[in-house]
Symmetry: C2
Subunit: 187 residues, 2 copies
Amino acid sequence: MPARLFSFIGGETGRWRITEMEAIVGEPLPAAIRLEIASGSEIPSDPHASWVLRGITSNERYVDREERRQIVAKLLDLGRPDATCAALIPIRKNEAWWALTQEERLSIFKEQSRHTKIGLEHFPTLARRLHHCRDLSENEPFDFITWFEYAPSDEVRFNNLLAALRAIPEWQYVEREVDIRLERDQV
Amino acid sequence: MPARLFSFIGGETGRWRITEMEAIVGEPLPAAIRLEIASGSEIPSDPHASWVLRGITSNERYVDREERRQIVAKLLDLGRPDATCAALIPIRKNEAWWALTQEERLSIFKEQSRHTKIGLEHFPTLARRLHHCRDLSENEPFDFITWFEYAPSDEVRFNNLLAALRAIPEWQYVEREVDIRLERDQV
């Protein structure tokens, strides 16, 4: 079975170099210069870690069959040699979001906000992995963590995607968001 | 903040006496004679525990606003003095279920299976708590755990509810279900 649980460890070691950490909404994260990603339930002990964010891949909750077909057809693999840029974006939504029913959340996600369509329009071939955190334990600092990888030449396109998503009604429910950018050497 | 994480510890100690354990589908659980329920992330160490099942309360995923209104209006509290009977029912759904989209799952849950309506028709005032397990870690033995409490005079009604639910299309996706019945002394 492929690993579902991933730990993102910010500190002084790791393959990815952190180039920027910006708190878009809410509390920032403590400073870190490198990021290590561990899979499975084994978290390597790192006395220098500033923070550890954990998330688990899960079933999709807002995507219909046709959208999934398009996403799967276009989604790129992580770990492509030319994708030397990455973004780690942990997000927490507020109580009002979680108090909505599934149908109300879906309506905001899809009809009011066109979340998936915006993604497919701006950057159909993006490599990404979505992790859920909310139900890992009682006190996770974020609800979701998304990990993106892209080539340096795609940075503007990636920034445009984020700007478009941050402008939709769904984002009014985001109460904490940190935008962490990273780079690694080409292998 | 109220506790969201609960541990159900089957063994030799605990307030609830296990009167019956039946594997409805799939593997049974090891024998146990008593059940302890712990809340929060602290799991009491019990060298005699046969099994520990953990689950976390979360946002609802298949209930609309009007159904929620009816459920909330009629849901009874746990811990009522006359509710000396309980049932602990852990369930795992199969891969086919989790490979469906949210809308497909909702359609089976609601239109094809009328899950919530059957609950409200058979036993509108039931006391229960639903716990999610699937996203707690990579290797949870069940996806959901539901805890029910009822008076001895309601046992037939409760059994009728379970029989009705086990007959709906949604239950064809259940690959493991254990039905554990319990009693406690009146306080």
